[in-house]
Protein backbone atom coordinates (compact mmCIF):
# COMPACT_ATOMS: atom_id res chain seq x y z
CA UNK A 1 0.00 0.00 0.00
CA UNK A 2 2.71 2.45 1.05
CA UNK A 3 4.61 1.63 -2.16
CA UNK A 4 1.69 3.02 -4.13
CA UNK A 5 0.70 5.80 -1.76
CA UNK A 6 4.05 7.59 -1.60
CA UNK A 7 4.60 7.83 -5.39
CA UNK A 8 0.98 8.89 -5.80
CA UNK A 9 1.30 11.67 -3.24
CA UNK A 10 4.62 12.82 -4.73
CA UNK A 11 3.10 12.82 -8.22
CA UNK A 12 0.13 14.87 -7.00
CA UNK A 13 2.35 17.43 -5.28
CA UNK A 14 4.53 17.78 -8.37
CA UNK A 15 1.48 18.09 -10.61
CA UNK A 16 0.04 20.77 -8.31
CA UNK A 17 3.25 22.83 -8.26
CA UNK A 18 3.66 22.60 -12.03
CA UNK A 19 0.01 23.41 -12.66
CA UNK A 20 0.32 26.53 -10.49
CA UNK A 21 3.37 27.64 -12.44
CA UNK A 22 1.75 27.17 -15.83
CA UNK A 23 -1.59 28.68 -14.85
CA UNK A 24 -0.02 31.70 -13.13
CA UNK A 25 2.21 32.30 -16.13
CA UNK A 26 -0.26 31.74 -18.95
CA UNK A 27 -3.70 32.48 -17.54
CA UNK A 28 -5.29 35.85 -18.26
CA UNK A 29 -8.07 35.49 -15.72
CA UNK A 30 -8.21 35.53 -11.95
CA UNK A 31 -5.42 32.94 -11.65
CA UNK A 32 -2.94 35.03 -13.59
CA UNK A 33 0.19 36.18 -11.77
CA UNK A 34 0.00 39.88 -10.93
CA UNK A 35 3.62 40.42 -9.98
CA UNK A 36 7.09 39.27 -11.00
CA UNK A 37 7.77 37.88 -7.52
CA UNK A 38 5.06 35.26 -8.09
CA UNK A 39 6.64 34.26 -11.40
CA UNK A 40 10.05 33.84 -9.72
CA UNK A 41 8.62 31.78 -6.86
CA UNK A 42 6.68 29.55 -9.24
CA UNK A 43 9.70 28.95 -11.46
CA UNK A 44 12.03 28.19 -8.54
CA UNK A 45 9.47 25.91 -6.88
CA UNK A 46 8.98 23.94 -10.08
CA UNK A 47 12.66 23.50 -10.82
CA UNK A 48 13.55 22.64 -7.22
CA UNK A 49 10.81 20.07 -6.84
CA UNK A 50 11.89 18.31 -10.03
CA UNK A 51 15.50 18.29 -8.82
CA UNK A 52 14.42 16.89 -5.44
CA UNK A 53 12.29 14.21 -7.06
CA UNK A 54 15.21 13.23 -9.30
CA UNK A 55 17.55 13.02 -6.30
CA UNK A 56 15.36 11.50 -3.63
CA UNK A 57 12.75 9.47 -5.45
CA UNK A 58 14.99 8.40 -8.35
CA UNK A 59 12.12 7.85 -10.77
CA UNK A 60 13.03 5.08 -13.16
CA UNK A 61 11.26 3.35 -16.03
CA UNK A 62 7.94 4.98 -16.95
CA UNK A 63 8.34 7.47 -14.09
CA UNK A 64 11.59 8.73 -15.57
CA UNK A 65 9.72 9.64 -18.77
CA UNK A 66 7.07 11.36 -16.67
CA UNK A 67 9.91 13.38 -15.14
CA UNK A 68 11.11 14.38 -18.62
CA UNK A 69 7.56 15.45 -19.51
CA UNK A 70 7.40 17.49 -16.30
CA UNK A 71 10.62 19.29 -17.26
CA UNK A 72 9.08 20.15 -20.64
CA UNK A 73 6.00 21.51 -18.87
CA UNK A 74 8.21 23.72 -16.71
CA UNK A 75 9.82 24.99 -19.93
CA UNK A 76 6.38 25.88 -21.23
CA UNK A 77 5.61 27.68 -17.98
CA UNK A 78 8.91 29.57 -18.11
CA UNK A 79 8.04 30.82 -21.61
CA UNK A 80 4.77 32.19 -20.28
CA UNK A 81 6.60 33.85 -17.40
CA UNK A 82 9.15 35.40 -19.72
CA UNK A 83 6.47 36.76 -22.03
CA UNK A 84 4.54 38.24 -19.14
CA UNK A 85 7.58 39.58 -17.30
CA UNK A 86 7.72 43.10 -18.79
CA UNK A 87 4.03 43.73 -18.20
CA UNK A 88 4.17 43.10 -14.45
CA UNK A 89 5.52 45.06 -11.48
CA UNK A 90 7.75 43.41 -8.91
CA UNK A 91 5.13 43.85 -6.25
CA UNK A 92 1.38 44.32 -6.67
CA UNK A 93 -0.10 44.49 -3.17
CA UNK A 94 -3.83 44.17 -2.79
CA UNK A 95 -5.55 47.35 -1.66
CA UNK A 96 -6.23 47.65 2.04
CA UNK A 97 -9.96 47.26 2.81
CA UNK A 98 -11.63 49.09 5.67
CA UNK A 99 -15.17 50.02 6.59
CA UNK A 100 -16.24 53.67 6.78
CA UNK A 101 -18.69 55.09 9.32
CA UNK A 102 -21.63 53.91 7.16
CA UNK A 103 -20.38 50.36 6.99
CA UNK A 104 -19.31 50.64 3.38
CA UNK A 105 -16.06 49.09 2.20
CA UNK A 106 -13.30 51.52 1.43
CA UNK A 107 -10.23 50.45 -0.52
CA UNK A 108 -6.97 52.24 0.04
CA UNK A 109 -3.98 51.72 -2.26
CA UNK A 110 -0.92 50.15 -0.60
CA UNK A 111 2.53 51.34 -1.57
CA UNK A 112 4.36 48.52 -3.43
CA UNK A 113 7.63 47.33 -1.84
CA UNK A 114 9.53 46.94 -5.07
CA UNK A 115 13.03 46.81 -3.61
CA UNK A 116 12.00 44.30 -0.96
CA UNK A 117 10.45 41.99 -3.54
CA UNK A 118 13.51 42.21 -5.75
CA UNK A 119 15.77 41.20 -2.87
CA UNK A 120 13.39 38.45 -1.79
CA UNK A 121 13.21 37.11 -5.35
CA UNK A 122 17.00 37.10 -5.56
CA UNK A 123 17.35 35.21 -2.29
CA UNK A 124 14.67 32.73 -3.35
CA UNK A 125 16.43 32.10 -6.65
CA UNK A 126 19.86 31.68 -5.03
CA UNK A 127 18.55 29.23 -2.41
CA UNK A 128 16.74 27.32 -5.14
CA UNK A 129 19.87 27.16 -7.27
CA UNK A 130 21.84 25.90 -4.27
CA UNK A 131 19.34 23.10 -3.66
CA UNK A 132 19.45 22.10 -7.31
CA UNK A 133 23.26 22.09 -7.22
CA UNK A 134 23.24 19.85 -4.12
CA UNK A 135 20.88 17.45 -5.81
CA UNK A 136 23.09 17.01 -8.87
Amino acid sequence: MIEILIPAVVALVVAWVLALQVVHAWSTGRWAATERYRLVVDAVDSIVILALVRALAAPVGVWSWAWVLAVAIVGFGLAGAALRWNTLPWHAPKPKRTLDEHGATVETAVEPRTRGRQVLSGIYAVVGAAIVALCW
Binding site: A58, V60, V71, G75, L134, W136
Partner: protein, 365 residues
Amino acid sequence: MTATPRSTSRPRRVWVIAAVSTAVALAIGLAFRPGPSTLPPEATGDAELAATVRELAGPDRKALLAVVVTPDGTRTATIGAQPNTRFEIGSVSKAFTGLLLADSIERGEVTPDTRLGELLELGDAPAADVTLAQLATHTSGLPRLPIDLSTILSSTWFALTTANPYGEDLDQLLEQARSASLDTPKGTYSNLGFELLGAALGSAAGTSYADLLEERITGPMGLDSTSPVSDAAELGDRDLLGETAGGRTAAAWTGTAIGPAGGIRSDTEDLARFAERLADGSAPGIEALDPQAAFGDREIGWAWITDRKAIDGEDLVWHNGATGGFASFVGVVPATGTTVVLVSATQESVDAAGVALLEQIGAAR
Protein backbone atom coordinates in the same frame (compact mmCIF):
# COMPACT_ATOMS: atom_id res chain seq x y z
CA MET B 1 -11.34 40.97 -48.96
CA THR B 2 -9.53 40.69 -45.65
CA ALA B 3 -8.40 37.54 -43.90
CA THR B 4 -10.60 36.10 -41.19
CA PRO B 5 -9.14 37.00 -37.77
CA ARG B 6 -7.65 34.04 -35.87
CA SER B 7 -9.79 32.79 -33.06
CA THR B 8 -6.91 32.90 -30.63
CA SER B 9 -5.98 36.13 -28.97
CA ARG B 10 -2.29 35.24 -28.75
CA PRO B 11 -0.03 36.21 -31.62
CA ARG B 12 2.00 33.61 -33.48
CA ARG B 13 5.22 34.94 -31.87
CA VAL B 14 3.99 33.84 -28.45
CA TRP B 15 3.44 30.28 -29.54
CA VAL B 16 6.80 30.14 -31.27
CA ILE B 17 8.52 31.26 -28.08
CA ALA B 18 6.51 28.75 -26.05
CA ALA B 19 7.38 25.96 -28.46
CA VAL B 20 11.08 26.79 -28.45
CA SER B 21 11.20 27.05 -24.65
CA THR B 22 9.35 23.76 -24.26
CA ALA B 23 11.64 22.07 -26.76
CA VAL B 24 14.76 23.31 -24.96
CA ALA B 25 13.36 22.10 -21.64
CA LEU B 26 12.50 18.77 -23.22
CA ALA B 27 16.08 18.41 -24.42
CA ILE B 28 17.37 19.23 -20.93
CA GLY B 29 14.95 16.71 -19.45
CA LEU B 30 16.12 14.02 -21.85
CA ALA B 31 19.77 14.80 -21.10
CA PHE B 32 19.24 14.50 -17.37
CA ARG B 33 16.55 11.82 -17.35
CA PRO B 34 17.02 9.83 -14.14
CA GLY B 35 18.10 6.27 -14.63
CA PRO B 36 21.00 3.93 -14.04
CA SER B 37 23.81 3.17 -16.47
CA THR B 38 23.54 0.21 -18.79
CA LEU B 39 25.86 -2.77 -18.50
CA PRO B 40 28.42 -2.82 -21.31
CA PRO B 41 28.37 -5.84 -23.66
CA GLU B 42 31.87 -6.98 -22.67
CA ALA B 43 32.39 -9.30 -19.73
CA THR B 44 35.29 -11.20 -18.26
CA GLY B 45 35.06 -14.74 -16.98
CA ASP B 46 32.34 -17.23 -17.83
CA ALA B 47 30.37 -15.90 -20.83
CA GLU B 48 27.35 -18.10 -20.16
CA LEU B 49 27.14 -16.97 -16.53
CA ALA B 50 27.53 -13.35 -17.64
CA ALA B 51 24.61 -13.72 -20.03
CA THR B 52 22.50 -15.41 -17.36
CA VAL B 53 23.04 -12.79 -14.67
CA ARG B 54 22.62 -9.98 -17.18
CA GLU B 55 19.17 -11.38 -17.88
CA LEU B 56 18.27 -12.13 -14.25
CA ALA B 57 19.54 -8.88 -12.72
CA GLY B 58 18.65 -6.71 -15.69
CA PRO B 59 20.92 -4.58 -17.86
CA ASP B 60 20.35 -1.28 -16.01
CA ARG B 61 23.47 -1.40 -13.88
CA LYS B 62 26.88 0.23 -13.94
CA ALA B 63 28.72 -3.03 -13.24
CA LEU B 64 27.91 -6.48 -11.97
CA LEU B 65 29.91 -9.37 -10.59
CA ALA B 66 28.67 -12.90 -10.19
CA VAL B 67 30.07 -16.02 -8.57
CA VAL B 68 28.57 -19.50 -8.72
CA VAL B 69 30.07 -22.37 -6.78
CA THR B 70 28.66 -25.87 -7.15
CA PRO B 71 30.16 -29.32 -6.57
CA ASP B 72 31.06 -29.14 -10.27
CA GLY B 73 33.32 -26.15 -9.80
CA THR B 74 33.50 -22.38 -9.62
CA ARG B 75 32.36 -19.94 -12.27
CA THR B 76 32.73 -16.17 -12.17
CA ALA B 77 31.73 -13.27 -14.38
CA THR B 78 32.49 -9.58 -14.11
CA ILE B 79 30.62 -7.12 -16.30
CA GLY B 80 31.59 -3.47 -16.51
CA ALA B 81 34.65 -3.95 -14.31
CA GLN B 82 37.70 -6.16 -13.90
CA PRO B 83 37.88 -9.30 -11.74
CA ASN B 84 40.12 -7.40 -9.31
CA THR B 85 37.90 -4.33 -9.15
CA ARG B 86 36.70 -3.80 -5.60
CA PHE B 87 32.96 -3.40 -5.04
CA GLU B 88 31.27 -2.36 -1.81
CA ILE B 89 29.52 -5.44 -0.41
CA GLY B 90 27.39 -3.43 2.02
CA SER B 91 25.71 -5.44 4.74
CA VAL B 92 27.27 -8.67 3.53
CA SER B 93 29.97 -7.23 5.80
CA LYS B 94 27.71 -8.35 8.65
CA ALA B 95 28.03 -11.91 7.36
CA PHE B 96 31.82 -11.59 7.73
CA THR B 97 31.34 -10.18 11.24
CA GLY B 98 29.10 -13.15 12.03
CA LEU B 99 31.91 -15.51 11.01
CA LEU B 100 34.27 -13.54 13.22
CA LEU B 101 31.91 -13.88 16.19
CA ALA B 102 31.62 -17.64 15.71
CA ASP B 103 35.39 -17.90 15.45
CA SER B 104 35.88 -15.82 18.61
CA ILE B 105 33.40 -18.03 20.47
CA GLU B 106 35.22 -21.13 19.30
CA ARG B 107 38.49 -19.69 20.57
CA GLY B 108 36.88 -19.11 23.97
CA GLU B 109 37.53 -15.40 23.76
CA VAL B 110 33.89 -14.50 24.16
CA THR B 111 30.59 -16.30 24.65
CA PRO B 112 27.20 -15.53 23.13
CA ASP B 113 26.23 -14.15 26.53
CA THR B 114 29.19 -11.83 26.90
CA ARG B 115 27.85 -8.39 27.64
CA LEU B 116 28.90 -5.42 25.55
CA GLY B 117 29.83 -3.54 28.71
CA GLU B 118 32.52 -6.13 29.46
CA LEU B 119 34.32 -5.26 26.25
CA LEU B 120 33.58 -1.61 25.54
CA GLU B 121 33.61 1.40 27.83
CA LEU B 122 29.90 2.05 28.00
CA GLY B 123 29.57 2.83 31.71
CA ASP B 124 26.06 2.25 32.97
CA ALA B 125 24.43 2.89 29.60
CA PRO B 126 21.58 0.49 28.69
CA ALA B 127 23.64 -0.82 25.77
CA ALA B 128 26.22 -2.17 28.23
CA ASP B 129 23.82 -5.00 29.14
CA VAL B 130 23.28 -6.14 25.58
CA THR B 131 24.85 -9.51 24.76
CA LEU B 132 26.86 -10.37 21.67
CA ALA B 133 24.20 -12.92 20.70
CA GLN B 134 21.54 -10.23 20.79
CA LEU B 135 23.65 -7.98 18.59
CA ALA B 136 24.31 -10.77 16.09
CA THR B 137 20.62 -11.70 15.86
CA HIS B 138 19.22 -8.14 15.81
CA THR B 139 17.38 -8.71 19.10
CA SER B 140 19.18 -6.16 21.26
CA GLY B 141 16.54 -3.45 21.09
CA LEU B 142 19.04 -1.05 19.59
CA PRO B 143 17.72 1.11 16.74
CA ARG B 144 18.72 0.62 13.13
CA LEU B 145 20.80 3.79 13.34
CA PRO B 146 21.48 6.12 16.25
CA ILE B 147 18.50 8.41 16.74
CA ASP B 148 20.20 11.76 17.15
CA LEU B 149 20.27 15.04 15.29
CA SER B 150 23.68 14.36 13.78
CA THR B 151 22.55 11.07 12.23
CA ILE B 152 19.31 12.55 10.96
CA LEU B 153 21.18 15.46 9.38
CA SER B 154 23.84 13.26 7.82
CA SER B 155 21.20 10.87 6.44
CA THR B 156 19.31 13.79 4.92
CA TRP B 157 22.52 15.25 3.55
CA PHE B 158 23.39 11.85 2.04
CA ALA B 159 19.98 11.55 0.40
CA LEU B 160 20.40 14.97 -1.19
CA THR B 161 24.02 14.73 -2.18
CA THR B 162 24.81 10.98 -2.23
CA ALA B 163 27.63 11.69 0.23
CA ASN B 164 28.86 9.07 2.72
CA PRO B 165 26.34 9.03 5.60
CA TYR B 166 28.79 7.27 7.92
CA GLY B 167 32.42 8.02 8.71
CA GLU B 168 32.30 7.81 12.50
CA ASP B 169 35.36 6.62 14.38
CA LEU B 170 35.27 4.35 17.42
CA ASP B 171 35.00 7.17 19.93
CA GLN B 172 31.97 8.56 18.13
CA LEU B 173 30.47 5.07 17.93
CA LEU B 174 30.84 4.60 21.67
CA GLU B 175 29.27 7.98 22.26
CA GLN B 176 26.30 6.93 20.15
CA ALA B 177 26.04 3.65 22.06
CA ARG B 178 26.08 5.40 25.43
CA SER B 179 23.10 7.52 24.46
CA ALA B 180 21.15 4.73 22.75
CA SER B 181 18.02 3.26 24.31
CA LEU B 182 16.88 -0.35 23.93
CA ASP B 183 13.22 0.26 23.24
CA THR B 184 13.28 -0.66 19.55
CA PRO B 185 11.24 -3.83 18.90
CA LYS B 186 13.30 -7.03 19.00
CA GLY B 187 14.10 -8.19 15.52
CA THR B 188 14.77 -4.68 14.24
CA TYR B 189 17.68 -4.86 11.83
CA SER B 190 20.41 -2.77 13.44
CA ASN B 191 23.49 -1.36 11.75
CA LEU B 192 24.42 0.22 15.07
CA GLY B 193 24.30 -3.21 16.71
CA PHE B 194 26.73 -4.73 14.23
CA GLU B 195 29.06 -1.74 14.42
CA LEU B 196 29.24 -2.37 18.17
CA LEU B 197 29.61 -6.12 17.72
CA GLY B 198 32.64 -5.64 15.46
CA ALA B 199 34.19 -3.13 17.83
CA ALA B 200 33.59 -5.48 20.77
CA LEU B 201 35.21 -8.47 19.04
CA GLY B 202 38.23 -6.35 18.24
CA SER B 203 38.42 -5.22 21.83
CA ALA B 204 38.14 -8.78 23.12
CA ALA B 205 41.16 -9.75 21.05
CA GLY B 206 43.07 -6.60 21.94
CA THR B 207 43.15 -5.30 18.40
CA SER B 208 41.00 -3.51 15.82
CA TYR B 209 38.11 -5.06 13.91
CA ALA B 210 39.96 -4.62 10.62
CA ASP B 211 43.10 -6.36 11.86
CA LEU B 212 41.12 -9.14 13.52
CA LEU B 213 39.14 -9.76 10.34
CA GLU B 214 42.35 -10.04 8.34
CA GLU B 215 44.04 -12.25 10.90
CA ARG B 216 41.20 -14.72 11.41
CA ILE B 217 38.79 -14.61 8.46
CA THR B 218 40.02 -13.00 5.25
CA GLY B 219 43.70 -13.85 5.71
CA PRO B 220 43.25 -17.61 6.24
CA MET B 221 40.93 -17.74 3.21
CA GLY B 222 43.39 -15.80 1.03
CA LEU B 223 41.07 -12.85 0.55
CA ASP B 224 43.80 -10.28 0.09
CA SER B 225 41.54 -7.65 -1.48
CA THR B 226 38.76 -7.90 1.08
CA SER B 227 38.84 -5.32 3.86
CA PRO B 228 36.89 -2.51 5.46
CA VAL B 229 37.82 0.99 4.34
CA SER B 230 38.12 3.46 7.20
CA ASP B 231 38.83 6.54 5.11
CA ALA B 232 38.12 7.60 1.53
CA ALA B 233 41.80 8.45 1.17
CA GLU B 234 42.53 4.70 1.30
CA LEU B 235 40.60 4.10 -1.90
CA GLY B 236 42.68 3.25 -4.96
CA ASP B 237 42.27 2.75 -8.69
CA ARG B 238 40.67 -0.65 -8.17
CA ASP B 239 37.91 0.75 -5.96
CA LEU B 240 34.76 1.33 -7.94
CA LEU B 241 32.26 4.07 -7.18
CA GLY B 242 28.69 2.87 -7.53
CA GLU B 243 25.59 4.76 -8.49
CA THR B 244 22.11 5.24 -7.06
CA ALA B 245 19.10 3.61 -8.68
CA GLY B 246 18.54 6.95 -10.36
CA GLY B 247 22.02 6.96 -11.86
CA ARG B 248 23.80 9.45 -9.60
CA THR B 249 27.35 8.57 -8.60
CA ALA B 250 27.40 7.78 -4.89
CA ALA B 251 30.29 8.50 -2.57
CA ALA B 252 32.06 5.50 -1.10
CA TRP B 253 30.83 4.34 2.30
CA THR B 254 33.84 4.52 4.54
CA GLY B 255 34.53 4.87 8.24
CA THR B 256 36.05 2.89 11.07
CA ALA B 257 32.74 2.33 12.83
CA ILE B 258 30.71 1.17 9.83
CA GLY B 259 33.21 -1.52 8.84
CA PRO B 260 31.60 -4.50 10.65
CA ALA B 261 28.11 -3.50 9.53
CA GLY B 262 28.63 -2.41 5.94
CA GLY B 263 32.06 -1.01 5.17
CA ILE B 264 33.85 -3.94 3.51
CA ARG B 265 35.00 -3.95 -0.12
CA SER B 266 35.88 -7.05 -2.10
CA ASP B 267 36.43 -8.22 -5.68
CA THR B 268 35.29 -11.09 -7.87
CA GLU B 269 38.37 -13.20 -7.24
CA ASP B 270 38.10 -12.91 -3.46
CA LEU B 271 34.37 -13.45 -3.42
CA ALA B 272 34.88 -16.63 -5.46
CA ARG B 273 37.31 -17.96 -2.81
CA PHE B 274 34.88 -16.90 -0.09
CA ALA B 275 31.99 -18.65 -1.83
CA GLU B 276 34.02 -21.83 -2.20
CA ARG B 277 34.78 -21.89 1.53
CA LEU B 278 31.12 -21.30 2.34
CA ALA B 279 30.03 -24.01 -0.06
CA ASP B 280 32.36 -26.67 1.35
CA GLY B 281 31.81 -25.52 4.92
CA SER B 282 35.48 -24.77 5.57
CA ALA B 283 35.23 -21.01 6.12
CA PRO B 284 36.49 -19.92 9.54
CA GLY B 285 33.51 -19.41 11.82
CA ILE B 286 31.18 -21.32 9.51
CA GLU B 287 28.99 -22.10 12.55
CA ALA B 288 27.71 -18.56 12.13
CA LEU B 289 25.36 -19.90 9.49
CA ASP B 290 23.55 -22.14 12.00
CA PRO B 291 20.20 -20.66 13.08
CA GLN B 292 20.14 -19.34 16.64
CA ALA B 293 16.85 -17.46 16.91
CA ALA B 294 13.64 -16.58 15.12
CA PHE B 295 13.80 -13.54 12.86
CA GLY B 296 10.27 -12.68 11.87
CA ASP B 297 9.07 -15.70 9.92
CA ARG B 298 12.67 -16.64 9.24
CA GLU B 299 15.55 -17.80 11.39
CA ILE B 300 18.85 -16.13 12.01
CA GLY B 301 22.32 -17.30 13.00
CA TRP B 302 25.16 -14.89 13.67
CA ALA B 303 23.96 -12.43 11.01
CA TRP B 304 23.19 -15.17 8.49
CA ILE B 305 19.47 -15.57 7.74
CA THR B 306 17.90 -18.96 7.01
CA ASP B 307 14.86 -19.48 4.81
CA ARG B 308 13.65 -23.01 5.32
CA LYS B 309 13.02 -25.05 2.15
CA ALA B 310 13.39 -21.94 0.00
CA ILE B 311 15.27 -23.47 -2.92
CA ASP B 312 13.40 -26.45 -4.28
CA GLY B 313 12.86 -27.83 -0.78
CA GLU B 314 16.35 -27.06 0.53
CA ASP B 315 17.28 -24.43 3.12
CA LEU B 316 18.79 -21.17 1.90
CA VAL B 317 21.22 -19.31 4.15
CA TRP B 318 21.84 -15.80 2.96
CA HIS B 319 22.63 -12.18 3.58
CA ASN B 320 22.16 -9.18 1.39
CA GLY B 321 23.44 -5.64 1.42
CA ALA B 322 23.14 -2.17 0.01
CA THR B 323 25.19 0.99 0.22
CA GLY B 324 24.70 4.31 -1.50
CA GLY B 325 25.79 2.88 -4.83
CA PHE B 326 25.88 -0.90 -4.51
CA ALA B 327 23.61 -3.88 -3.86
CA SER B 328 24.78 -7.35 -2.91
CA PHE B 329 23.57 -10.87 -2.20
CA VAL B 330 25.26 -14.03 -1.01
CA GLY B 331 23.22 -17.20 -0.78
CA VAL B 332 24.32 -20.64 0.37
CA VAL B 333 22.50 -23.94 0.03
CA PRO B 334 24.51 -25.97 2.55
CA ALA B 335 22.80 -29.25 1.72
CA THR B 336 24.25 -29.27 -1.79
CA GLY B 337 27.41 -27.24 -1.30
CA THR B 338 26.23 -24.44 -3.54
CA THR B 339 26.86 -20.72 -3.20
CA VAL B 340 25.91 -17.72 -5.29
CA VAL B 341 27.25 -14.20 -4.94
CA LEU B 342 25.99 -11.17 -6.85
CA VAL B 343 27.19 -7.61 -6.38
CA SER B 344 25.88 -4.70 -8.42
CA ALA B 345 27.47 -1.27 -8.75
CA THR B 346 24.00 0.22 -8.98
CA GLN B 347 21.91 0.38 -5.83
CA GLU B 348 19.10 -1.80 -7.11
CA SER B 349 18.48 -5.03 -5.22
CA VAL B 350 19.94 -8.24 -6.60
CA ASP B 351 18.19 -10.49 -4.06
CA ALA B 352 15.60 -11.83 -6.48
CA ALA B 353 18.26 -12.36 -9.14
CA GLY B 354 20.39 -14.25 -6.62
CA VAL B 355 17.57 -16.56 -5.66
CA ALA B 356 16.60 -17.04 -9.30
CA LEU B 357 20.20 -17.89 -10.14
CA LEU B 358 20.28 -20.51 -7.38
CA GLU B 359 17.12 -22.05 -8.75
CA GLN B 360 18.34 -21.88 -12.33
CA ILE B 361 21.59 -23.67 -11.60
CA GLY B 362 19.68 -26.35 -9.76
CA ALA B 363 21.22 -25.54 -6.39
CA ALA B 364 18.99 -28.02 -4.64
CA ARG B 365 20.13 -30.99 -6.72
